[in-house]
Amino acid sequence: MSDVGRSRTHAWLVNGALAVIALLSLAPLAWMVSVSFMPRGEASHFPPPFLPSMATLDNYRALFATTGVARNFANSLLVSGAITVLSLLVNTMAGYAFAKLRFAGRERIFQLLLAALVVPAQVAMLPLFLLMKQLGLVNSYWGVIVPAMATVFGIFLVRQYARSIPDELIEAARIDGAGELRIFFQVVLPMLKPVLVTLAIFTFMGAWNDFMWPLIVLTDQAHYTLPVALATLSREHIMDVEMMMAGAVVTVLPVLLLFLLLQRYYIQGLLLGSVKG
C-alpha cells in the first residue's frame, strides 16, 4: 500500500472509531428523548422501536399532572441556585484570603484543608444528620444548602487564580484609603471573573446532580430535589417507561444545556482542579 493510501485508511479508522464511541455515548440520551415522546406502552414491545409511531407530549403532561415533578424541579432550582450563589461568595472570599491576605496560621490551615480532601464526604454524613436534626434542618432546603456553602475545591480553585493578581494593585487601593471589603468587591472580584464563571457552573451542576445527601436529609416528596424524586418515582412507576424517560429528560436537560453553552469554562475548571495532586 502507498503511503497516501495507508494514511487515508488510518484516518478512516480513527474517525470511524470515534464515530462509534460517540454513538455509544449519545445513544442512551437519544433513546431517552425518543421514548419520552412515545405513546404509553410503546417502548415495551419487541423489537424495541427507535422512534415514536406518533410523537406525543402526553408523558410530560402526565408527569407534571400526577407526580409533583414541577415542585421537585423548583426545589432543585432553588437549592442549586442558593448553593451556587452562597458558596461562590464564601469560597471566593476564603480563596482570596489564602492567596493575598497574610494572616497568622494561613499556610497551616490551608495544608489542613488540602489534607481534608482525602476524607470521603460520606464519613461525615451520619453525624451531620444528627447535627441537622438538632438544628431542626432535617427535611428543609437549608439542610441541603448549608453544608454545601463552602468547599475545599472551590477555595483551592479561587486561590490558584487569585495568586496572579498583582499585590501592587491591592496596596494602591489600600493607600487610597479603600476598606478591605471595598477592595474585595471593586478591585479583586472583577479580576476573578473567569474563575467565578467556572466555579459557578461546577457548583450548580454538582448541586443539581447530587444524590446521596439530599436523599438522606430530605424526607418527604414535597421537599425532594429532582434526582431524589426520580429515584423514588422510578421505583413506583417501574412499568411506565415513557413517563420515566420524560422525567429523565426534565432532570438531565438543564445541566446538559448549561454544559453545552459554557463547556469551555467547565473543561478549564476540570483541568485546574485535577492538578491539585
Binding site: 494572616f103 476524607v119 461525615a124 451531620l128 444524590f211 434526582p227 429515584a231
Partner: protein, 292 residues
C-alpha cells in the same frame, strides 16, 4: 496587622462552614463508631454506651459486610482499569492529527459526565431490560440469547461497571488529552527517525510521559469508585442476591434504614481507611518509579 485581621475575616465564613459541617462530623463519626448508638439512643441519649472497638470487631464477623466489601472491591478492581483504559483510548483517538470534527467528538464523548447519575441510571435499567431492552435486541442479531442483565447475580455488577465506564470515561479523557498535548513533539520525531513503530512510541514515550497524570487519575478514580452508591441504589437496590450491595450502600442501610448509627459510622471509617491505604500504596509505588 490590618491585613491579618482582614484575612481571618475573609476566611472565617468558609472555615466555620467546613469546620462545623464537615470537620466536626468527621470527628464525631470517629466517636460515634465507638458507641452503640442506635434507634433507642436516637430517642433518648441516655441509652448511649461506649463500646470501644466492638462495632469494628463485629463488622469483621458479619458476612454481609464482607460481601459488600467484596462487591466493592470487584467493582474497583475491574471497573477502574476498564475506565482508565477507555479514557486513555478515547484520548489517544481524539489526539490524533487525523481527526475531523474534533470539537464535536470531544463534546459528545464528554456529555455523559455532566448528566444526572440517577436519571441515566434509570435509562440504563430500561436499555438492559431482559425482554424489551435495546441491548439484548442488538445482541440477538449476533446470535446471543437474552441476558437477564440486572436480574442475574453474575451479570448485575458487570452491568453496573459498564454503566460506570460509560458515565465517567469522558472525565479522565479530558485530563489525558491535556497530558498528551503537553508531551514535546520532538520526542516522537526523534523516535521516528530511529525507526520506532507506533506501538513502540506509545510504550516508550507516551506512557512514561503520561506517568504523573496516570497516577493522579488512578488515585482520583480509585477513591471515587470505592464510593459506589447511587448506581446500585437506583438500578438494583443491592439485588439480585445482594450481589450489588456496596460498602456505602450497606452503610446507608445500616444507618438510615435500621438507625444503627454507631455501626454505620464504623463502616464509613473502615471504608475511609481502606481508600487511604490503597491510594497511599499507589502513591508510594508512583514515587518509587519517580513519577511524581
Amino acid at each position: 496587622m490590618r491585613a491579618s485581621l482582614a484575612g481571618w475575616m475573609f476566611a472565617a465564613p468558609a472555615l466555620v462552614v467546613l469546620g462545623v459541617f464537615f470537620g466536626l462530623p468527621v470527628l464525631a463519626a470517629l466517636l460515634l463508631s465507638l458507641t452503640d448508638f442506635d434507634l433507642y439512643a436516637l430517642a433518648d441519649p441516655d441509652h448511649l454506651c461506649f463500646v470501644a472497638f466492638d462495632n469494628y470487631l463485629e463488622l469483621l464477623r458479619t458476612p454481609m459486610f464482607w460481601k459488600a466489601l467484596g462487591n466493592t472491591a470487584y467493582f474497583v478492581v475491574v471497573g477502574v482499569p476498564l475506565s482508565i483504559a477507555a479514557s486513555l483510548g478515547a484520548a489517544l483517538l481524539l489526539h490524533s492529527p487525523l481527526v475531523r470534527l474534533r470539537a464535536f467528538f470531544r463534546t459528545a464523548l464528554f456529555a455523559p459526565v455532566v448528566t444526572t447519575l440517577v436519571a441515566v441510571a434509570v435509562i440504563w435499567r430500561y436499555l438492559f431490560h431482559t425482554s424489551y431492552g435495546l441491548v439484548n435486541w442488538a445482541l440477538g442479531h449476533v446470535g446471543i440469547a437474552p441476558v437477564d442483565w440486572l436480574g442475574d447475580p453474575r451479570w448485575a455488577m458487570p452491568t453496573i461497571m459498564l454503566f460506570a465506564v460509560w458515565k465517567n470515561f469522558g472525565y479522565n479523557m479530558v485530563i489525558f488529552l491535556a497530558g498528551l498535548q503537553a508531551i514535546p513533539q520532538d520526542l516522537y520525531e526523534a523516535a521516528r527517525i530511529d525507526g520506532a513503530s507506533r506501538w513502540q512510541q506509545f510504550v516508550h514515550i507516551t506512557l512514561p510521559q503520561l506517568g504523573p497524570v496516570l497516577l493522579v487519575v488512578g488515585v482520583i478514580t480509585i477513591s471515587g469508585y470505592f464510593q459506589l452508591f447511587a448506581e446500585p441504589y437506583v438500578m438494583t437496590r443491592g439485588d439480585p442476591l445482594q450481589s450489588t450491595v456496596s460498602v456505602l450502600y450497606y452503610m446507608f442501610e445500616e444507618g438510615f434504614k435500621w438507625w444503627n448509627l454507631g455501626r454505620a459510622s464504623a463502616v464509613a471509617f473502615l471504608l475511609f481507611l481502606i481508600i487511604l491505604a490503597v491510594t497511599t500504596v499507589l502513591l508510594r509505588f508512583g514515587r518509587r518509579k519517580a513519577l511524581v
